[in-house]
Symmetry: C2
Subunit: 357 residues, 2 copies
């Protein structure tokens, strides 16, 4: 009824109800004690005036803005948009709002975003950090005791910041083993990880895998699975590609044309999967007849093509939701266990996997 234009404050409500500001505040906040009469008067006044509390003022005194920040490389990327969705869902159900920022994997943008968001006094951050040696902005956050949860990746310098990510190693093992169990012995892998410099066989036993880039972890899982089954890791079957569609396409085309002997191909990332698939289609080799194929991420198109592609599905929504949940626990000072969380991938066998011929 009352389309009061400019903001009506708690003072207006108090006046209208004929009580003091404090009393009005008390009943509106449902805290402290107040007589039934006062409560009624205040509630009615509030409704009559169309009172809407000012969250800014509230945040100002309470010190909590009921807002969390999501700092991601790119919300238009399906992985991050799904994670963001999970994040907002979890945040929302806890009464929090989320502020997003894209970094495009640019350290400066990341730093600037974090600063800006800090000024907005967000209660915490979920960050899928840009890879860099010295993530100062993030360290500063931790230093200032602002809750932070890392999503998907972490670098060595941030060893003690909790991480929520896919169990990259396990995921890769899962896919590789499923292929091995089908009888495959020569399994090729498409990876972004720089194979030469890190040397696949060069992962020391006790290494903190959490600090490796996801791509390296996935490569590691592949190696583990092979090793576990006594299969050799053939360097020629480790296909390196840049993190683009085209690069993967080219690399896989080369692999196919090289006449290498392999009976299965596993892609360690969604982007690489797309490129690899395109190369396969172009080459006109029938799959799974020629070789089996496992893609990464349950992208919509993988079920559209024929045969539908077998994939390793990443629980993207859950990753975001879990990150948010963890962050919220930290915010509530429930000195939550700062343990990392690694969610398992789910293998979805479809039409592109079969025993070798």
């Amino acid at each position: 009824m009352a389309p009061r234009s400019q903001s009506v404050t708690i003072n207006d409500v108090a006046r209208e109800a004929g009580v003091s500001k404090s009393s009005a505040a008390r009943v509106l906040a449902g805290r402290g004690s107040s007589s039934p009469k006062t409560q009624k008067a205040v509630h009615e006044a509030a409704k009559r005036l169309g009172y809407r509390p000012n969250a800014l003022a509230k945040a100002m005194v309470s010190g909590s803005s009921k807002t969390i920040a999501a700092v991601l490389p790119d919300v238009a990327n399906p992985f991050f948009s799904a994670a963001l969705r999970g994040l907002t869902d979890a945040a929302r159900s806890a009464g929090f709002e989320v502020l997003v920022a894209n970094t495009d994997n640019d350290p400066d943008v990341e730093t600037r975003s974090i600063e800006l968001l800090t000024e907005k006094r967000v209660d915490g951050f979920v960050i899928a950090p840009v890879f860099q040696d010295e993530p100062d902005a993030i360290s500063r956050l931790v230093n200032d005791e602002i809750p932070v949860v890392l999503l998907d990746r972490r670098m060595p310098a941030l060893a003690d910041v909790p991480l929520v990510s896919l169990d990259h190693v396990g995921a890769s093992e899962l896919a590789t083993e499923s292929l091995i169990e089908l009888g495959h012995k020569r399994i090729a892998i498409v990876t972004e990880a720089v194979y030469d410099s890190q040397g696949v066989s060069g992962f020391p036993p006790g290494i903190d895998t959490g600090a490796l880039r996801p791509s390296a972890q996935r490569l590691l899982g592949y190696r583990n699975a092979l090793g576990k089954h006594g299969l050799p890791l053939e360097h020629d079957l480790v296909v390196h590609a840049e993190y683009t569609w085209r690069s993967a396409q080219k690399a896989v085309r080369r692999l196919i044309e090289s006449g290498q002997d392999f009976s299965a191909l596993f892609c360690t990332d969604a982007v690489l999967t797309a490129g690899a698939y395109k190369a396969i289609v172009e080459a006109g080799v029938p799959i799974p007849e020629t070789f089996s194929f496992i893609g990464f991420d349950d992208q919509e198109w993988t079920t559209l093509v024929s045969p539908a592609i077998s994939v390793l599905d990443q629980p993207r929504h859950a990753l975001g939701a879990t990150a948010a949940t963890r962050l919220l626990a930290q915010i509530r000072h429930i000195t939550a266990n700062q343990q990392d969380v690694r969610l398992p991938a789910n293998l979805i066998p479809r039409g592109t996997t079969a025993p070798p011929r």
Copy 2:
């Protein structure tokens, strides 16, 4: 150097610089006048203390939070995630942050989100509204003179709220005409629009197309194009589907099996395109030999399959960016022309369109 933990305020800076709060505020804000000496002292003190302004307090007195809200059905949907990206890009470059909310096309969730965000005192809203007869929450916003820009869709009750959307009618015309120019005369269309109730031929000449649902507008464009070229609109070629993958798949399967005579198929939405494509693949009919095919939205997978699919590309990023730009203009009181903006679609001919045989 100084990792001062809890917030250092402008008072701390003033004290450290040996000046008054007002002076410090003046130089920090770069407003008013101050002697070079004071400026130097204040800046140094600020740096030494690691001063970070409190945006909340600032917003509180200035009345502007430098934040805009994006209320979208689902950020995990590629269309909206791309639009959100455009939105944040535009906002960011104007010094604004964006708060996101998902509605899942639920009116109650939308209402609640808008209320919550209003309490947070966002400076404006970009909303892709849930379809409903009485979008009260949005009307209230407009009433309270909070800037709002609608994205992608609008309903009759919001006639005077500026809209940024695709030129749905023109897009559809473009696709249909391109098919006609190739020589096609019997063009089928897959649409979510309820054909019977609105009666394709039942769009009155002077109708406010902006208030129609996008699907209806796209259907209208199809009709227009046919009419313009003297082609009849055959009811049997208007294939209705629910807004799901499977529904479209079923509908197109039925169309193909029906033996209907048609030489081209146009899908009016990304989801429908996926379902239709799946039906085509399943049926094993070769395209464009059997019939030409135009999909909606330049989804990644449309270039992955073979032949690559010809599509009508929607400038999703630009839609979001334009919406944000418009909103910001409105926020700055540059009583911007409240005109709607309709961006054109771009036809990308690929391998699935050819002259009929």
